[in-house]
């Protein structure tokens, strides 16, 4: 088993922890953080492939990650602002209670 396999397995683990958290927790903040974890797992993959992969271009994986981090920051800001707005509206942030946005 090469280091690349190991790294990918670690990122799979992180991804699945994030997924399980997002699916299981009722607190919207934690769901959002689970999604952040999944993003981080993807970033780990980028770095792993950059480090151990055959890519000839130096720095491309890092740049992918940098952009992903920037977008994740934006996503977190907007998501948490939405959560605060939802909280102000329905006085709690249980995800299963915010079901009014349906047909």
């Amino acid at each position: 088993m090469s280091p690349l396999h190991l790294c990918l397995l670690i990122s799979t683990g992180l991804f699945c922890i994030g997924l399980a958290g997002a699916l299981a927790r009722s607190n919207t903040i934690l769901v959002l953080l689970g999604i952040e974890l999944m993003l981080n797992a993807a970033n780990i993959n980028f770095i792993a492939f950059w480090r151990f992969g055959p890519s000839p271009v130096a720095g491309n994986g890092m740049i992918f990650v940098l952009f992903a981090i920037a977008v994740a920051a934006a996503e977190a800001a907007v998501g948490l602002a939405l959560i605060i707005a939802v909280y102000r509206h329905q006085k709690n942030i249980r995800l299963q209670d915010s079901t009014t946005l349906k047909g």
Partner: protein, 670 residues
């Protein structure tokens, strides 16, 4: 320092700019609109003076600047500016009188809610008139001519909430349109036959010898020269605009507008446009007399129309009771004088009278406006009276204007200009009738002006409003004083020598026919004044209801005159009746013939629609309804999957992801 013909456009451009500023400024922002209007007019006045200075350096020269407007196929439509003494004098007069009227309006319109709009319209009016004056092209002149008409429509109908004002505006617009139709036909004919509309174009213009010769050389089937016909058509426009005999009916009604508007229309801008037009195209009008042997000359028609108008206006003015209407009919009469002068061949005398008349008529109107403003919009002279002591400044100035209009000798400019006209009429060798009409009008003018002064200013106040009248503020009286000074000072344009006429036409030879005519006219003026004072001044009116002394003497004549000789009824009875009948016929045609056809078609459509509907509902819709009901049902069942629960969605995505990944792994896709 002079202003070249090329930069002449600045003179109308400034008021136009002021109008634009007034149009876009806020409604309550009164000072910007008024200030920019007055400032623009003042600067235009200065520029006009510069232009006059340049024009007087070479009076015989017609400086022009022509440019291409647009290309129309092979031909190019050209416009141009013209600078000669006629233009320059007119510009100076219009801007000067206009500025004073604008200033007067500051006070007169102070309480009006649409103050800003008023100044916007005034500037627009002045700009259109100035554009008309500087035009070197009949086309540009016509454009500005129509803009003047539009502006006058807006201003006469300024108090449009009054039905009479709205009607008057409409009447003025439509009546002048009739004349303008003639003008337009004349322009088209002229363009057709000469290929140009420029007045002066270095030998190719319509007022230059080559074109005039060819035009007067063509003889039409009816025996007229082409230039005569074109001139008469153009004269139609002047008749409409200047309120000459058949089309004079709009002018008195235009009194419905605010008084500064009346002053502007009657003194400086609108009615002067007609006289100016004829003076401008005078070479064309007079071409047939010089170059062709035809039975009727265009100018002869002009002279007779003018004579009729002068006499008729003066007669009707004697029987009017509204202060502004008296002045309006006096304007009609004076315009008749000018036309008479044009007709008898002395266009310089006409322009001289136009200038002097502009000043004293503006003075009279503004004085009337001052009275009206002070008397809370009481305009009936029977209800006024006794204002002499209450409004001393206004009275003095009004009296100066009245004497100038009546032609009181020597000191007043009106006397000299009227003398010039009478001399010209005396020298006309076609007919003496215009001279007699002019002399009769002299007596009548003095008479009705004396009546106006006596009724308005003497005696005692005969109504509540007149009782409480008091002198207006300086912003209204100051223009009066300036105009009064000018009304007297303009005498020096003709005395001791006819300087103005020489400047306008350096080749003019003024025949001195002795002083007999002058003495006769002085006697006639004296007779008119004393007659007026004998009838109205000796026993001053005591009550509003008291009958007019002349009504005792000739009730039928006076009633007819008060009714303006029934022109309005005549037009209503003829033109209006024909119009109504035609309309009724058209209505019947529309209702029964065309309407019947349409109704038949509609019924046909309804019937076929009914048949169609039956087929549609039973056969087509049934099937579609069933299909769509089943779609709707399945959609409703399917929409139950949308729970709104984010966890569920996430779960479904994850499971779908597993399935996809499994498919990829099993399928061996790398």
């Amino acid at each position: 320092m002079t202003l070249s013909a090329q930069s002449l456009w600045l003179i109308p451009a400034l008021p136009l700019l002021a109008a634009a500023i007034g149009a876009i400024s806020a409604r309550k922002n009164r000072s910007i609109a008024a200030g920019s209007a007055i400032l623009a007019m003042s600067i235009s006045f200065v520029l006009s003076c510069l232009a006059l200075n340049g024009a007087l350096l070479a009076p015989a020269n017609h400086a022009f600047f022509n440019f291409d407007w647009f290309d129309l196929g092979a031909t190019t439509v050209r416009l141009g500016f013209l600078l000669d003494p006629l233009t320059a004098f007119m510009c100076v007069m219009v801007t000067f009188v206009g500025t004073l009227i604008f200033i007067f309006s500051l006070g007169y319109m102070k309480e009006d809610a649409n103050f800003k709009q008023f100044f916007c319209f005034l500037s627009f009016f002045a700009a259109a008139m100035l554009g008309l004056l500087i035009a070197n092209s009949l086309l540009l002149l016509f454009i500005c001519w129509e803009l003047v008409g539009l502006a006058s429509y807006l201003l006469i109908g300024f108090w449009f909430h009054k039905p009479s004002a709205a009607a008057a505006a409409k009447k003025a617009f439509i009546t002048t349109r009739i004349g303008d139709l003639g003008l337009l036909l004349g322009i088209l004919w002229l363009y057709d036959s000469s290929g140009s509309l420029l007045f002066y174009d270095g030998g190719h213009g319509v007022l230059e010898l080559a074109t005039l010769t060819s035009l007067s050389g063509q003889t039409l089937a009816c025996g007229l020269a082409a230039s005569t016909a074109i001139g008469l058509l153009i004269f139609c426009g002047a008749v409409g605009k200047s309120g000459q005999f058949p089309l004079h009916v709009w002018l008195p009604d235009a009194m419905e507008g605010p008084t500064p508007v009346s002053a502007l229309i009657h003194a400086a801008t609108m009615v002067a446009a007609g006289v100016f037009l004829v003076a401008r195209v005078y070479p064309l009008m007079s071409a047939d007399a010089l170059l062709a042997a035809v039975p009727v000359h265009a100018l002869t028609v002009v002279a007779f129309i003018g004579a009729i108008t002068a006499l008729m206006g003066a007669l009707i003015a004697c029987a009017q009771n509204d202060i502004k209407r008296v002045l309006a009919f006096s304007t009609v009469s004076q315009l008749g004088y000018m036309m008479l002068a044009l007709g008898v061949g002395s266009w310089t005398a006409a322009i001289f009278h136009l200038l002097t008349h502009a000043f004293f008529k503006a003075l009279l109107f503004l004085g009337a406006g001052s009275v009206i403003h002070a008397a809370h919009h009481e305009q009936d002279i029977r209800s006024l009276g006794g204002l002499r002591t209450k409004m001393k400044v206004t009275f003095a100035n009004f009296a100066i204007g009245m004497m100038a209009l009546s032609g009181v000798p020597f000191l007043f400019s009106g006397f000299w200009s009227k003398e010039a006209i009478l001399h010209a009429a005396h020298g006309w060798n076609v007919s003496s009738l215009p001279l007699y009409a002019g002399l009769a009008a002299v007596v009548l003018t003095a008479f009705y002006m004396t009546r106006l002064i006596a009724e308005t200013f003497f005696g005692k106040a005969r109504s509540e409003h007149a009782e409480h009248a008091h002198e207006n503020s300086a912003v209204m009286t100051l223009p009066l004083v300036i105009l009064a000074v000018c009304a007297m000072a303009l005498s020096f344009l003709a005395w001791p020598s006819p300087w103005l006429q020489h400047q306008l036409d350096p080749e003019l030879q003024i025949e001195t026919s002795g002083h007999g005519l002058m003495i006769l006219s002085i006697i006639l003026v004296g007779a008119g004044l004393s007659l007026g004072w004998w009838i109205y001044g000796r026993k001053l009116r005591q009550t509003v209801q008291q009958r007019d002394p002349l009504n005792h003497a000739a009730p039928a004549v006076m009633a007819a005159l008060a009714n303006r000789l029934g022109f309005d009824e005549l037009y209503a009875g003829t033109v209006g009746r024909v119009n109504t009948l035609t309309a009724a016929f058209a209505n019947a045609l529309d209702r029964w013939v065309i309407g019947g056809l349409v109704n038949f078609l509609a019924h046909l459509g309804v019937f076929s629609g009914g048949v169609n509907r039956q087929i549609d509902e039973d056969n087509l819709n049934g099937g579609f309804d069933r299909v769509s009901a089943s779609i709707r049902g399945s959609g409703q069942r399917y929409s139950k999957a949308q729970t709104g629960e984010a966890h569920g969605y996430l779960r479904v995505i994850a499971i779908a992801f597993i399935v996809l990944a499994l498919a990829l792994v099993m399928g061996g896709v790398r």
